[in-house]
Assembly symmetry: C2
Homo-oligomer: 416 residues x 2
């Protein structure tokens, strides 16, 4: 088993070589990875079977076993993802601006690779390849630490990716997997100052909080979403119903799904029965405020403070009747996680105020929160959704994995 420090030294050693690669070389590497994964699907499936058997023995839930499981179609999908990353424009080398200063210095800001990117994630073997492909295209070495439940799958995928790079004469240490899946190695990874330029946790709230609390390297906080749909007094109620049901039910397990419904008091008596019927037919449990309960009756549960703050990630929703747009905005800014928020309205001023005053990565007028996604936003890829305000906020594509440097062309200038 390679130790974390050995992996970190390797990554730091090759980062300049990875940064120097042109798009042609990086794309050739990514296509080679795709071909290699498909050609060795049997090996991957064999490794994956060990993880699945262990998972069944250890009583993993059906949902987790499903996320963990690979088949030929999923492997083809992973390979196709690599080819799509190869097809994206290279973010590296772009000069964002260059100006000639009064003293004759030409100062420019250029997009350059991060260096070494760490990713900590849970038991999803596809993330092993997705994350490695994006980091490689962004010109950085990566150190991956996946959940132990997917360890054999991730190790096999990493071995094949490294072999593909090596066969192409590219630096195999651009991609590394942490083989020590102990808690200690995770903590050690969070403190790899001098080696890791950024650490990105991808996963549930527990993982993300552990990284935020313990990391001394720079972190991009991702993912938890307590997203609201607010139905304004002037909303088209049919549109509101469609958006609510889509935001809540289309894929309830993801961070951009709605977890809370706010309804203006003027339309609550008409809208809530319409909404409740659709939500119940999809099996969604409603946790309502007293006014919601007055309208919908005893069939719903009372909402607690905890309900307003919860990310259910399932078929549940909290619901509150508000007196005004102001109350809705205050409620959202108090309980949200800075992810995605939606107003349904016909009123110009309400729409503008909601866009201006709600503090979140993505604020919607008359559209489902489910669109917060790198592909839907036109980035062609996504490494995660940032819920912090530094560096990147919202869906992160390739450029979120880069940094900039200032380049200065002089002819002998000194400072007076």
């Amino acid at each position: 088993m390679r130790q974390l420090m050995e992996i970190a030294e390797d990554a730091r050693r090759v980062k300049h070589a990875v940064a120097a690669l042109g798009a042609n070389d990086k794309n050739r590497g990514l296509r080679a990875i795709a071909d290699t994964l498909e050609a060795h699907a049997d090996e991957i499936l064999a490794a994956n079977r060990i993880d699945i058997e262990n998972g069944c023995k250890n009583g993993l839930s059906d949902g987790l076993i499903d996320r963990l499981s690979l088949d030929r179609a999923r492997i083809a999908g992973i390979a196709e993802g690599c080819r799509q990353v190869a097809a994206l424009p290279d973010p590296i080398g772009e000069v964002l601006w260059m100006r000639k200063m009064p003293n004759g210095l030409n100062i420019g800001q250029k997009r350059v690779p991060m260096g070494v990117i760490g990713i900590i994630y849970e038991a999803r073997p596809n993330v092993t390849v997705d994350a490695a492909a994006l980091c490689f295209k962004a010109g950085s070495a990566c150190i991956l630490r996946g959940g132990k439940e997917a360890f054999h799958s991730s190790l096999c995928l990493t071995r094949l990716m490294r072999a593909a790079l090596e066969a192409e004469g590219l630096p195999e240490c651009a991609i590394s997997l942490v083989e020590d899946t102990s808690r200690e190695s995770a903590g050690q990874m969070m403190r790899l100052n001098g080696y890791l330029d950024v650490l990105i946790p991808r996963g549930g709230a527990g993982l993300i909080q552990a990284v935020v609390q313990n990391a001394t390297v720079p972190v991009i906080e991702t993912g938890t979403g307590n997203c609201h749909v607010y139905v304004d007094a002037t909303a088209d109620l049919n549109m509101a119903q469609r958006i609510l049901v889509n935001a809540k039910c289309q894929r309830p397990s993801v961070c951009n799904a709605a977890e809370s419904l706010l309804v203006h008091k003027d339309v609550a008596a008409r809208f809530l029965p319409m909404a409740a019927e659709e939500l119940r037919s999809s099996g969604v449990k409603i946790h309502g405020c007293p006014r919601t309960m007055d309208i919908l009756g005893a069939a719903i549960l009372p909402a607690t403070e905890e309900d307003y703050a919860r990310e259910y990630l399932g078929y549940e929703i909290s619901c509150k009747v508000v007196d005004s747009l102001d109350e809705a905005i205050v409620h959202i800014n108090a309980y949200n996680t800075g992810h995605s928020e939606c107003i349904v309205t016909r009123d110009y001023a309400s729409a503008q105020r909601f866009l201006d005053e709600v503090d979140a990565a993505a604020v919607y007028v008359n559209a489902s929160t489910r669109f917060t996604d790198g592909f839907e936003f036109g980035f062609g890829a996504e490494i995660g959704i940032s819920t912090q305000k530094l560096h990147a906020r919202g869906p992160m594509g390739l450029t979120a994995l880069t940094t900039t440097k200032y380049i200065i062309y002089g002819n002998g200038q000194v400072r007076a």
Copy 2:
């Protein structure tokens, strides 16, 4: 004494009001602050005298006493700084891009305020006003924690700034000073998750490391600079001498001053005596490698590993003769702090390789490292110089104190 949590609650409460201010209101507030500080110069000087007397009693060095000391001219300079910030363009509200997606959604990325910005700094009263003015212009509330040596000065300045805002009908809680200067309150401030959107330490290496090691809120690491001047084989040696002396001696106490000289072996015998003469006449002690000592004789000190890594911030420099550009780049990437690096060369390929391969916030060809500064880069202001790769790298102007949000205009779109 107001407790930190009380201050944090106040800042969080007013941040939306501060964010909503237009440029006219913010600029009016900044000009009112400038006028108020000048009108109350006597109060400021009286408070400053307490700090200076305490400092003398506690044996502060002359340099520290100088940094701490205010007079009428310095107060006028501080007020003028506020007026300059008022004159800068408002960074808030700019839509960086907006695109119509195939499904009809209009998705845009808009520059918005951070929210609440924390600044931890040392005993420089001017930073109290500079930092507050920049945060206010950037639409954020700020929580300032200055060094205890300048406490009375900073408290007086903060009181006057708040009074000026209040008199203008603007939220005075936009600007707060932490009055508890204990170590505990600093640690508490580093963990104000949910209140602080970013924490920026400004000061020496010890302060910055304490923040990096202990903060759980997002941090922008600033400031330490082990900057190199590399004199290539083809350098114009007179230019190299001018750049070196400027970078080392023009203001040795600052982070963009040079701390290390690398010289290509082909020009070492000619360049080092020229350089040494100028450096010695400015009183600079040289710590040299064995080859440097061979050339310059016993008058210089031997360089240790520690010398190559040191930020002297004074009249000392380390010096090494290298065999090649490659060796220079490897040395710099091993020892630098990611701040500012310079090559002096006539060779096109050497210049391009240095710009590409040296990993630092600012990389110079044929110009002094002393130019790494928000004003010199044309930003009109500076909150510090970031030496990390996330969010902002290099001199940070107003935009580094902002974030973005995605705004999405729909007409009923739901995700398929």
